[in-house]
Symmetry: D2
Subunit: 362 residues, 4 copies
């Protein structure tokens, strides 16, 4: 319950935004998998705040210290624990809002859920900071997948009304997925990057924020993995994606647009391609009946605009029930979407490794 996941891979996240440290324990990893710590750091750097105006000015170095589970550069197969000590917290920034519910935040719901005992500083356990250990877990799982020639990647599909090109659902390659990872602002199109940066900057200047959509894909994942009903790939991926704060929707393949076309248009015909079964189109997003088809796995997740905006907002003190005007101080991302890209990729990585490990094999 709450912050643990028990699939083929298991992990237990912990930490509060302004507590001593955050981290994760990952259990049931296969033993003997080489882990490249430099690549882990690169992966996590993609989640770290940028100095380019698109995100908060806080510096989150977030270098995870691995306490167990790694020996001579390889997974031991026993629990892998990583801790990130919190160092750059300015608690005073948040001092004045402890009982006035910040709109679209979990202050009020968290207060009820934990009878007022939860750590309210900086959102506590609800903070986006907890996605750092999620990314650590995702980076580890991603490396283990890469040992099996499975590649995942994600890009910003849209920021507000600005669209990036979409992944080609049939022909997307590992090379393309890797390429977008090296871009400081992960879009496929440079023009989209330019326009998105403008939208974000404009929102920041207006003391406002914007949301967007992240698109994620996997190639090389073997066909026949997953399960019907409760443990299909969609079930697992969606459960993990909704662990990322600010996600409000997820769709696989052609997603919501499938509701608006005929079956004859939506059905992906099967064909034989280089001696292997494939589909001509990929509206199904690589998943049929919860099980991988061998086609690229594709989904998109919708992120709401950052709830913390600097303009005054109407709210209520949830202890006294008095209406209050709220001005949120502190440093905030005008848009979380660029930093959310590796988080979404992490959800995909964990889900796919988990599904591989859950296949009944004896």
């Amino acid at each position: 319950m709450s912050s643990a996941f028990h699939g083929g891979v298991q992990f237990s996240l912990f930490g509060e935004s302004h507590g001593k440290g955050i981290g994760v324990v990952i259990d049931n990893l296969p033993a003997g998998e080489e882990i490249d710590l430099e690549k882990i750091a690169e992966f996590m750097a993609r989640r770290a705040p940028k100095k380019d105006g698109t995100s908060t000015m806080r510096s989150e170095k977030d270098i995870p210290e691995i306490l167990s589970g790694l020996f001579e550069g390889k997974t031991t197969g026993t629990p892998l624990a990583a801790v990130i000590m919190n160092t750059d917290q300015h608690s005073s920034d948040y001092g004045n809002i402890s009982h006035i519910a910040r709109p679209a935040h979990a202050d009020y719901t968290g207060f009820l859920r934990y009878n007022g005992a939860n750590d309210p500083r900086g959102g506590g356990h609800f903070s986006g900071r907890i996605t750092a250990p999620l990314c650590f877990a995702g980076a580890v799982c991603g490396q283990i997948l890469s040992h099996r020639n499975i590649t995942t990647g994600a890009h910003i599909r849209s920021i507000k009304n600005v669209q990036d090109e979409a992944f080609d659902p049939v022909n997307i390659t590992a090379k393309q997925l890797d390429a977008v990872k090296s871009r400081p602002f992960p879009t496929l199109s440079e023009k989209a990057e330019q326009e998105m940066r403008e939208v974000i900057n404009s929102a920041r200047e207006n003391l406002d924020s914007v949301g967007g959509i992240v698109e994620c894909a996997a190639v090389g994942f073997p066909a026949g993995v997953g399960s019907p009903m409760l443990d299909g790939l969609e079930n697992i991926i969606s459960r993990l994606v909704f662990a990322i704060p600010a996600v409000k929707g997820i769709e696989f393949g052609n997603g919501f647009s499938c509701a608006d076309i005929f079956g004859s248009e939506n059905n992906d015909e099967f064909t034989v391609n280089n001696g292997k079964i494939a589909t001509v189109t990929n509206n199904h997003g690589g998943i049929l009946g919860g099980i991988s088809s061998g086609m690229p796995i594709i989904f998109r997740a919708a992120f709401k605009p950052t709830p913390s905006i600097s303009r005054p907002q109407k709210s209520v003190d949830f202890k006294t029930l008095t209406p209050e005007e709220l001005v949120i101080k502190g440093r905030h991302d005008p848009c979380v979407v660029p930093r959310a890209v590796p988080c979404v990729e992490s959800a995909m990585n964990i889900a796919l490794l988990s599904a591989l490990l859950e296949q009944p094999k004896i």
Copy 2:
């Protein structure tokens, strides 16, 4: 894994379309809850095929026999098992397609997953028939919720390009939710019903099929229930909703459209309403940080068009890898959306009861 769910409520689904029987075992229900079997039957009748041309002509009586867990009309607290014997299967209808993959079906992926040992008749365990015991579980959970004045309901939000009115996310009432349940075609607007019926009939006449969107809501659910990260209400609901075959997307509150507006527009201001904290708008869909806010819980699920269409389709024999033209015979729903409405409601019911039972209370 696969067809079992282990939350506050636990259940294990079983059955194949053309096997002897299908059913469900529900564990960890609270003891002493009155169960009205007639209402269960009414609930399940909403999932049964209709004689009005919108669904298959198969007659699925689907009267569940309760084998355990109910004593003198109340839950015993020990496992509640219900079985529906299969009686109306025409296996011969499916005889000729066993190794030609039906597009958008799980024939090929299921064959790989189970090494060819799964029951292929009528989709086997992948069949939409397995949603009958899911609805049984949903109906039981819904009655237990109703004892606590929690009401859920769902309607067809769209069929192809025809839209129904949306639920009012702030003011929707239990009465409105109950009213739509009694309609043979569950829309809010009669005009929408008429147009949707026409779209479905037209698709059927063209040997084609259509999909749509189901919108589901809950009112009366207490604030403060759920968890951050992995066991939030969105995580649980989405995991359950993707158990329904044909779902390709889910969104909460304003969903994907949140990605296209400013934070200042998306943030729901808090206010005090009749001495209780509420929000003025409900873009968040009643869930903040995975936890209920006390506002109506609202989500939508997208359903793809029925994969089984009667017109010829190109496909492949997945045993011989030879291309084949496929003509699917048998009786099929030209649109599964009307019958999917109680399935979606069931996912909501199970998720909400599960979340209530998972709250740590001692």
Copy 3:
């Protein structure tokens, strides 16, 4: 919780002694495993009451009907459900004891746990009858193990103060384990059988009951399976063995007697045997650090005497808190141990298959 197990194998038991039916849903079995239904019936017959005075005179035919998960004689890999309809219940036998707690039974604790809503007839869900579907699951798992040359077996190690010979912990063979299964009274020694029968008959004549110890072993199980800490073979086996009513203790290898010898006596020296690593002795019972060593796996479980005895007992009406003298009518086993042998074997079978399936393999 309660009656479901979620390991590599999953199952969900249901049923009450005097309800409509009892059964089990088994999930996550490997696909394509041949299941010999006649052997399942033989396995379950070993649990059925005997006409030889050692057990109750009730006739429990207990022929399980398989509703799903088996196709053309093989597991489909999707949930396997089996139901046994209750036919021979004499509810009136139990009519007079509903609120007087039968000593050593769960009447009082069950009443509290379920707020008085549980089915009290014949012990309800607490009845030993629920071990019938447990045996079904155990028989299925045993067959899947046998396809991998893993053999399990059990015998009565003692009834009251009468001892059977012990399994040879080093040299026990599959042949010996299979031989004891065919005996109507499962001991290794015929002399022990004779004396045990006398002890049981004598207890019955005195309106009393006796308990005993069951010893269970597995050979052919590969070395290196299991996990340290929470999911070791001891953890899994003990969790399953305590699902059998009347078990009050379990010990592995030399068990409690290890507490009374020196390390130099208890440590099993390693050696090489036919090119394979083995131990000279087997005090460790085939498990080190929760993981199989390749030596026979051996444990013993202690069963208390049947709680239901026909002589008058002092008790209390737990609704009125008045002291009452209780005379239990109906038909009861003077000793459950002979019928418990296949139940213990079932726990072993399920645990071993579960552990094999839980090994992380990709």
Copy 4:
């Protein structure tokens, strides 16, 4: 799997004997529970090595640092993480035994399980050191139980053939349970302590080791908590107790001796005591049908002698399959039982809190 537990309380243990650190993440704790860190330290000190010759001379300060889940002295309800950094490891002590299997250790089985990738230094994740975070979790759960007037305690019941007095299964009090905790060598009888110390010292001088039995009890635990079948108190407790290395058996109430008496002797008659239902005797150990009866909960766990002994032993190099004589160097406990007492208590504490949290309440 492996080192995580998912009951009402959840926890995930991590660490290797000679790695950077060990620890635990505990999830799903109730919020707002005061935690006295000094008492936690006292609890853990009971597990730390003593300077009195009964245990290893290693100094394990083992001061846990709490990284999250505690705010202003109370549980936040979000995950509680504690880390103990490893500081006093002498890896060279173990340098020469990496591929010769130490008898009764998990070197060989762990090597197989993890394909040789596990950390072999000091037993790695199989080390008794991992019981330190288990004790941390047990101490936290114990404090939360104590807020509800539930008291647990344990003592050394025997070391080799020396017996301590037994707990009085009917009249044991919280005061008695607390008293034994303050004793440096936790027995009820001082005479037993003296003789046990002699047995341990004598074993040490003979380069040998001894085992023993720990008895654990709980008073004040409410009646009606637990479940039949798979999640009874015996199932949960035994699963947790077998997480402690060296445990080979567990028994509840009168345990194995129940197998040797008549039902009329074993059945505990019900009576009314101070207006409450009780039993006259307590052979059932406070658990009937997996559910607490309100009587003291009592169990015993058998510990094998410390596997590490300083005298030469015959073994095998499991990489080369060559026989080798092995001399284990380093510092070892001649008897783990005194230090195991708080570990057993921890298993009880976690199990009881877990069972309380699992009761379905809404």
